[in-house]
Symmetry: C2
Subunit: 214 residues, 2 copies
């Protein structure tokens, strides 16, 4: 499958590496191709780097792995025509580090970044997921407790959500996936970030996740 990934940071690189290893045609979309030169060497020619618009046009399915505060700008550069009708897996978080640590959320409560993106691109099938764990867990959940912990999905398009749930299982190995509901439930997973950051601090590692016990 042709996969477009927006973002050149740790999350984009981690998703890109995993998807490329699976044999899919990955194109990373970025404003800073130089940031991906070392990574390109690691994936040994199994992926390409282009502009955000290149990656959007290339991908049959798209991942938003940009920093939250740059996501809407990046998607504008990707181009609405290149996005429309496609599934966009949104991993971004609305973290604002401009006031120091810990970051605050620049949108929360009665709105979310997921909703902002969905409103800006109503013809995109936006599925919010993976934004509640550190990058290496996103693509390899079984490194912890053989994968017996949870990831969440939010989105309006039920078929697209089922497709992404299947992808989380088959591409990355997720076992426990909870569908929270429509895209407004992204408020929940985004507002989880503050406790996630505090748990990281208390545990001394970002390599953890939560399991729902009921």
């Amino acid at each position: 499958m042709k996969v477009g990934i927006f973002g050149s940071g740790m999350v984009g690189q981690t998703i890109g590496s995993r998807v490329a290893v699976l044999g899919h045609a990955v194109m990373m979309g970025t404003r800073n191709p130089a940031k991906l030169q070392e990574w390109l060497g690691k994936v040994a020619g199994k992926a390409r780097v282009g502009s955000l618009a290149d990656a959007a046009a290339h991908g049959e399915i798209l991942f938003n792995a940009t920093n939250g505060n740059g996501s809407l700008e990046a998607l504008a550069l990707a181009g609405e025509a290149n996005l429309n009708g496609k599934i966009l897996v949104d991993i971004s978080n609305p973290l604002d580090f401009s006031h120091g640590m810990p970051p605050v959320l620049f949108v929360s409560n009665s709105d979310s970044l997921g909703e902002q993106i969905q409103r800006a691109y109503p013809k995109v099938k936006l599925i919010k997921t993976l934004n509640t764990v550190t990058a290496s867990l996103m693509v390899n959940p079984r490194q912890l407790a053989d994968g017996d912990h949870h990831i969440f999905v939010s989105g309006n398009d039920v078929d697209a959500k089922l497709y992404v749930v299947d992808l989380l299982k088959t591409w990355f190995g997720w076992k426990n996936i909870l569908d929270l509901g429509d895209i407004t439930t992204a408020r929940g997973t985004e507002m989880y970030l503050p406790i996630w950051l505090r748990m990281w601090g208390a545990l001394g590692t970002g390599l953890f996740n939560i399991k729902i016990v009921k």
Copy 2:
């Protein structure tokens, strides 16, 4: 021990019943004593009901189980002189239902209700905990997975926090307690409420909790 509990709702009643059964001298503080008449019958005379000031004066340790939007007003009625120097276990959440469901938080991000209360009463040893689970789990965590899931504590006074951790274990049966840090970490547990409410919706029950897997 003499225990004062503020609030006449489900959380206050549940905490009050458990603490009374343990043999402690419980006084519930409320503006609406009538709301506790039926409950008083259930605990068979093992607890008393008074004003917020009565309960605050009575308690050697205090629990804030009022609705978040009424907590500061309730504590004002309890009276600073009756609160000062004591441990106040704060279970409240800053939920605002005035805009419909799901509720939003009336304070979040760079502040929290826990911090507001601590600032208003700097001589109170405020420990935020138990606000991330449904009432019946607060006092009986072992009804789920023999208690193998987590509760959080936040607070500035380290000795008071250790005391409350011990109380969570011995009074209620908590096994896994994570100290997130000072009272600013209450932002994390309060901002967890939106995802908690969405999990409740997706799971069809409030009788669940999260276990940290690492």
